[in-house]
């Protein structure tokens, strides 16, 4: 049935909640494009026939055209939604994405991500005076410069701005600058303690 495969793609993306990026379905995309091409060719053939007299084919042509439009809309929605999710990943994870996520992106998406990163970096450098302003930090207004964190699992050594390293062992507590810890808190290595 027309439009089935493309619906599967959209449904999969809809099910992946929370900004999660499922793997890029090249196969599904290819099949959908195949389908569109087949529909288009049949329509082409029927249009030339309809021009030469067979007006009852017009309804079939219109139906196929609707299918084509539907497929196009779904495919565009799929690709665009994935791009939005990838954009959100930059704000969440920073400029280097973990390998598991990079696996799920197609080559074009990686290219798009790099360009987005560059454009964001240029913008951030232009804002806020000489060194630029890192907008991806402190998404929520911070309450203090330093926060107390507890290490939830062994993470090894961790370097902070002035070159000193800290050994992150399970159940050790540290009092560190907020901006250094945010990444690790998001990854679940550190836990913010509120006393």
């Amino acid at each position: 049935m027309a439009g089935e495969r493309v619906m599967e793609l959209v449904r999969e993306l809809h099910r992946a909640t929370g900004g999660h990026l499922p793997p890029f379905r090249t196969e599904g995309l290819r099949q959908a494009l195949e389908e569109m091409r087949a529909l288009y060719e049949r329509n082409q053939a029927d249009v030339s026939e309809a021009k030469s007299g067979r007006t009852d084919l017009i309804f079939l042509i219109r139906f196929r055209h609707c299918c084509l439009l539907r497929n196009q809309r779904c495919l565009l929605a799929y690709v665009y939604d994935r791009l939005l999710r990838i954009r959100a990943l930059r704000w969440e994870y920073g400029s280097v994405l973990p390998n598991t996520i990079q696996f799920h992106m197609s080559a074009e998406e990686v290219e798009w991500f790099n360009r987005y990163k560059k454009s964001l970096a240029t913008y951030m450098r232009s804002v806020g005076g000489e060194e630029g302003l890192d907008l991806t930090q402190d998404i929520k207004p911070p309450k203090s410069l330093y926060i107390e964190v507890r290490c939830l699992r062994d993470h090894g050594e961790f370097e902070i701005d002035d070159g000193t390293t800290i050994l992150l062992k399970k159940n050790s507590q540290h009092f560190l600058p907020r901006w250094k810890c945010e990444q690790l808190i998001r990854q679940g290595v550190l836990e913010h303690i509120l006393s």
Partner: protein, 566 residues
């Protein structure tokens, strides 16, 4: 060396640095740590907190972190050994030691550069004078210089004879000096005891900097009460320290008397209380509390049938109906609760319990939350020694540390439940030990060993629980025995620690007398006995009187101890 101005020589030095906090596993250390953490957070001092439960962990933590930190703060560990020798630090590493263990090792006292002791100097320290222990090595060079001078033969011979006489005299002097030195050091290091609580020292630091808060004061109170609950300090010292804290309490908490400016009910209030000595009685029933507090159960001899009868008489004397007494304390009739303390004190005097009331403090916030200092101590201790393992041992430390904050009431209540279990287990074990005569006199000391199959024996594989058990056992034994000599003997208690590895944990406590100075000689005695028999022992705990040893070596170790101490 001793730090005379805590603020300038300690705090101002580290306020611009990154610091590593090494904290021992007892409630006093936890409280001191909380106070210091609060100060550090106020001033944005970057720190890392690592809990340590023994010398090995201390060394491991130091080795792991020594490249990253230059300033180390040790809380309740490290004063009683030669730190520089054990840790072998670099020249530019500094240690600040805030420890209540005494005697302080002489090397730590006389080291001018790397070790700073945050200790109150009016504590009875009795550190030997410098010249009695240390001697410069100049004498060696003088002798060799005399020999290299050359001149006429007769003069040389005369000088040679004079040299020989001089040298023998110097050698004799040196031998005498060394003998005297050994004696002085032996006297100094023979007895272990405890000084001022580290939490109070930290609170003093906060007060000097005018950064003290009610919360910090409460932690200082809990630290002091921990020392009292575990019988580490004398009654006199406790009363003196309570007096000092009382001044701070009235300074912070005087607004409640004034009706107009009274604080909201949710604010923390600390109050001085002349409260009953019954453990956890406000969170339990009065009956349970009477049965499970060591003071009352020892005096009333509750392990025997007669003792139970005496308890009933005691309750009847006060006019408290059994039904009321056995239900939760909060549900007792108000009319009974109102004069409870005075009533109990009167009746207790008749039954031989003169010190049933003790000076302590209680904290009050919100409508439901009222805790006495000893409640918190019991709860935190049982959280820290919780045997239900949910991960590495440090998890228990972290849980106990969290429970001291006001926001974590659920952890505190969990701790209270665990404490009730622990107290019950202690009482039952004490009762069974006394009824089955497990406490035997070995001559210079009493000895009791817990068998593997005893119920709750796993609870006592932890040092603090085992110490509490031993003190309760000794108190009860002293009340139960008729042998006058046995009443003055110290006690050694052994319990199985790890069944697979076949180790036993052994604890020695000083004798239980009215005016005991709580000085414990078992630390040195254990070391000597282990050396002489070659037993496989592990002196891992910061308290030298707690050791672990292999079960097979137990009997020869004990024999060596007996011969050593008789």
């Amino acid at each position: 060396m001793f730090v005379s101005d805590c603020r300038r020589e300690f705090y101002d030095v580290i306020v611009t640095q990154r610091v590593l906090l090494l904290v021992a596993s007892d409630v006093d250390a936890l409280c001191a740590c909380k106070i210091l953490q609060a100060l550090f957070q106020c001033d944005h001092v970057q720190y890392t907190l690592v809990p340590v439960s023994g010398w090995q962990e201390l060394e491991t933590a130091f080795l792991e972190h020594k490249d990253q930190f230059k300033y180390f703060v040790l809380i309740n560990c490290g004063a009683n050994v030669d730190l520089l020798e054990i840790l072998q630090p670099e020249e530019d590493t500094f240690f600040f030691v805030c420890d209540s263990h005494r005697p302080i090792n002489v090397v730590n006292v006389y080291n001018d550069t790397q070790i700073k002791l945050l200790v109150k100097q009016d504590d009875d320290l009795d550190v030997p004078a410098y010249d009695d222990i240390f001697r410069d090595e100049e004498e060696e060079e003088e002798d060799s210089e005399n020999e290299s001078e050359g001149s006429e033969p007769s003069d040389k011979r005369r000088r040679f004879e004079e040299d020989v006489i001089e040298r023998t005299m110097k050698r004799r002097q040196r031998r005498e000096w060394e003998a005297r030195r050994r004696e002085i050091l032996f006297d100094y290091e023979q007895y272990e005891y405890h000084g001022t609580s580290s939490a109070m020292v930290m609170f003093d630091l906060a007060w000097v900097m005018s950064k003290d808060l009610n919360d910090m004061l409460w932690w200082a109170i809990v630290g002091l009460t921990d020392q009292w609950v575990q019988d580490k300090i004398t009654q006199m010292k406790y009363v003196t320290d309570v007096g000092a804290l009382q001044r701070h309490v009235s300074r912070h908490n005087h607004r409640n008397e004034d009706e107009e400016h009274a604080l909201s009910i949710d604010c923390t209030r600390i109050a001085f209380d002349y409260d009953l000595r019954l453990a956890l009685y406000q969170h339990w029933s009065l009956y349970e509390s009477l049965c499970n507090t060591s003071y009352t159960s020892a005096r009333l001899k509750l392990w025997s049938v007669q003792g139970q009868k005496r308890l009933q008489e005691f309750l009847a004397d006060m006019g408290l109906p059994l039904k009321q007494v056995k239900q939760k304390f909060n549900s007792m009739d108000m009319s009974l609760k109102e004069n409870l303390r005075e009533m109990i004190e009167e009746s207790a005097n008749k039954f031989g319990m003169k010190d049933l009331r003790v000076q302590t403090f209680s904290i009050h916030f919100g409508f439901k939350n009222k805790f006495s200092a000893s409640d918190i101590v019991y709860a935190t201790t049982s959280l820290m020694e919780n045997i239900e393992k949910e991960g590495p041992e440090t998890t228990n430390f972290i849980k106990a540390l969290d429970s001291l904050s006001r926001g974590n009431l659920d952890k505190l209540h969990q701790g209270l439940d665990l404490a009730k279990k622990q107290l019950r287990a202690i009482q039952q074990t004490v009762a069974s030990c006394i009824c089955t005569n497990l406490v035997i006199s070995q001559g210079p000391f009493l000895y009791c060993s817990l068998m593997e199959g005893t119920p709750d024996v796993k609870l006592f594989s932890k040092p603090v629980s085992l110490c509490l058990l031993s003190k309760n056992l000794l108190k009860s034994f002293v009340c139960s025995t008729k042998n006058k000599r046995c009443k003055l003997l110290p006690l050694i208690m052994a319990a199985p620690m790890d069944v697979e590895q076949g180790t036993v944990i052994m604890v020695g406590i000083p004798p239980e007398t009215e005016s005991s100075d709580k000085k414990n000689f078992f630390g040195r005695a254990f070391e000597k006995a282990a050396d002489s028999t070659g037993s496989r022992t592990l002196h891992n705990h910061f308290d030298m009187s707690i050791i672990e040893l292999k079960t097979e070596d137990r009997s020869k170790f004990l024999d060596a101890l007996i011969s050593l101490l008789s």
